[in-house]
Amino acid sequence: MGEPGFRPDGTWVGADVPRREDPRLLAGRGRFVDDITLPRMLHAAFVRSTEAHARVTAVDLSEVREVPGVVAAFDAADLGLADITALLDRPAEEFTPTSMPVLARDKVRYVGEPLAVVVATDPYAAEDGVEAAVVEYDPLDPVVTEAAALAAAGTPVHDEAPGNVLVDVSLFATEGIDEVFAAASASAGDVVVTVEANTGRQNALPLETRGVVADWDDRDEQLLVRTCTQVPHQVRTVLARCAGLDEKQVRVTVPDMGGGFGQKCVVGREEIAAAAAARRLRRPVKWIEDRREALTASFLAREQHYTARAAFSADGRILALDTDVVCDMGAYSCYPFTAGIEPLMASAEMPGVYRVPAYRVRGRAVTTNKAPTAPYRGVSRPQYVMVMERLMERAARELGLDAVEVRRRNVITEFPYRGINNVTYDPGSYLESLDLCEQVLRDEGWLSRSGRDRDGRMIGIGFSCFSERTGYGSGAFAQRKMQVVPGFDISQITMDLDGTVTVTTGTLSHGQSHETTFAQIVADRLGIGYDKVKIVQGDTDRITYGWGSFASRSVTIGGSAAAAASVKLGDQLRSIAAHLAGVDIDSTRLDGRGGVRAGDHTYPFAELADVAYLRAHLLPKDVGPGLTATASFDVGGDGTFSNATHGCVVALDPGTGGVEILRYVCVEDCGVAIHPRVVEGQARGGIAQGIAGALFEQVTYDELGQPLAPSFMEYKVPTAAEIPDVRIEHLETPCAFTADGAKGAGEGGTIGAPAAVLNAVNDALRHTGVELDATPIPRAAIFAALSLEEAS
């Protein structure tokens, strides 16, 4: 054992240290937004549309205001807030701007759309008040499906977009691609395979629903908004604009957060309305979304339709890829990402881990009368990876080749690789992860198991290979042409008198363990215990500016900024020590034990801090008082790529069509793992969400646009009975430009699972000739396929 707080081997990065977050969360002493209670606090509830598509002819809140306990009720006209608008810098033929009102005014566009906010002395009374609202509608034909949207027969969802298309981009279109397809069709040995795939609408479903506690502070002349968001600075900006406040008049803080998964990385309407009500009433207002609202009126994702074809040579090499993807984005464009979030991600990234020499894609976002779409863990990648992996499987079948071998012949093996999608891939372990995943399943004896098990169930094995671009810097996001371009992160570090440090980050943990992992990164830079590092996140008054946490960006970008700030602080400490010891700074070094070695002297940090703060007259002339440093980090190039191969073994029950996952193996490479157990946790949790999308979860609507899954009875979230144990193997291809060689690890698990599960199901159905290309995989279709076989 070394001294307390120091690691014998000198590095915190890579160690499974105890999580700093755990003690409070385990003891029930976390502080989530609904745990906050303020004096004279009021509670908000929303009057929501019962129609999917209608003109609103009257909103009458007079009865609401008579309900005992109700203090106020506001509709759109009462609050007079500006709309939320997210834009792309794209020409009119590619992008149609639309706005989302905070409260609907003359028109509603989905069931659950907020029309008015009721504020009462307790949440029960607020709900009583909602019951008393009278809203009159002039119904319009709802646009519920992608087909109806594209048919554009009735009143469009937005007048600005008569064809119900908000984004329509055609990209890449490699010269000669049509000739490649024609030649492959004409050739005896080559093949052209097609996949038409649909993926179901899903809810990211953080277990903590959205919520806010807002309070106007007369002393600070500031609206203090405590809300569970992944993007506090973006909430500040939008709230300030909607309410006509200066940015400094809004402070957004984020307490402990019960998950987000993307649903909370856009700005919601309710937190704006509740904050506006708090300002109006000069009393704290709390709004906590209930589960029905979360399932029907929150942000959704993933409803996509692919028509893809690919040409393959006789020896299984992909020659060309041509895809049309239509994403059903629901009623509104989300801030800051816009309705382009899904189609632009799919279009830019679809070739994935494969060497695709010719590529063409058309990506569209259609608008429908359903709750709007936000990013959800993986954003389009679970979907296009599934389509790519189906194309691989189908080509292998038609060519009579082994599907793993076809992948092996197509994965990128030489890096850096410049893709047909104009993206440069940094080194990864695409082939190695595929080989290892297959090897693990072979060693476990699964590859020799096929056909029926002892219970008469059909066994199938499926693989998926993918990479995930993480570390999107400003340059990479700018290619999407968002008017608001995320990317960088800024970190500030301050050392106190006792030699401990506080570090700010613009990223925001909501389960990812940043209080631990960022502390590890900083501790290594300064040579102090990770328990001597306090991480400050989620406070717009304490952090210059930040982009929050999404797209697996936190450790790669935020961690690198924190590391850079730490190095700067270390240099300051060395300057002071050099001056005190009368030596050159080059003769100093951090001693790895909380001090600076300068010549023959060792100066503990506390001693140097004492000089910096209490005896500043001893400082060198070129070093100012205090010990603080700020650094930013951005990624100049195309980002970095994590990668993985997933392998899945399923058993299909011919009696029910049910799918049981017998084995799940994940070989992942996220570069250097700061905290391997945290990485495994991210992978397992992500895989569970991917399996949920593959087999269980779907947000459904009837023909009038009424939501059919308003509770957990209908929206089937898998439990421990459905989610298998996952074996995880690590490979490590360090990133060359992040602080510790880390890539991102937050989303990968979710990305690979739908493809692996679907391929395994299709493998088990191989003898029936049936191939399924939809998620959630319809159990009835499995049952029917197996019944046909039984009957024959």
């Binding site: 755990d22 969360l25 385990l26 989530f32 953080p206 946790g681 996952v726």
Partner: protein
């Protein structure tokens, strides 16, 4: 709905006298009247189990109970698990060691579920524990490490019990061993 009922609750060994509307759920009373915010509310319809507490030792959904229904019961919440000085219980320690929590929102429900279950079934196998873990929802972990944590805690408790028995000086009176 201005009716108010006088309700006497026994929570974590303390008595509380409350004047509350009869429609107030146990979850809301624990969280907002008693300030025991460790019990979380995830769905308010009895599926997710984030609000699981012990009612007379048995796991129950606090969102599906009115406080007035459990007047004569002993209620235990997650706040009862750690030592008064903050030291984590063996079960809590196992959750930390196995990374059985990420965001921590579902965690109190799983802890109370496991606390009630292991008291009833100290010999539970990992498969039986997994079935019980399927009572609640977690969106972060994929359940594997929650199952591992509870299984490990059960093993440690059995080992501790065995060690205590092995070192006991004399068989206790009435022992049938």
């Amino acid at each position: 709905m201005t009716d108010v009922a006088l309700v006497e609750l026994h929570v974590n060994g303390e008595r509380h006298d409350l004047a509350i509307p009869p429609r107030r759920t146990l979850a809301d009373v624990l969280r907002h009247d008693l300030g025991l915010t460790g019990t979380h509310v995830g769905c308010e319809h009895g599926i997710c189990g984030a609000c699981t507490v012990l009612v007379d030792g048995a796991p129950a959904r606090a969102c599906l109970l009115f406080a007035i229904q459990v007047e004569n019961a002993e209620i235990r919440t997650v706040e009862s698990l750690a030592d008064p000085d903050g030291g984590l219980s063996d079960l809590q320690q196992c959750f930390s060691e196995h990374h059985g929590l990420q965001c921590g929102f579902c965690t109190p429900g799983f802890l109370m579920l496991a606390e009630g279950y292991l008291a009833e079934e100290p010999e539970a196998t990992r498969e039986e524990i997994r079935e019980v873990v399927a009572s609640n929802l977690c969106r972060c972990t994929g359940y594997q490490t929650i199952t591992d944590a509870i299984d490990d805690c059960a093993s440690r408790r059995r080992a501790a019990l065995q060690a205590a028995l092995d070192t006991a000086p004399e068989p206790t009176a009435g022992s049938t061993a």
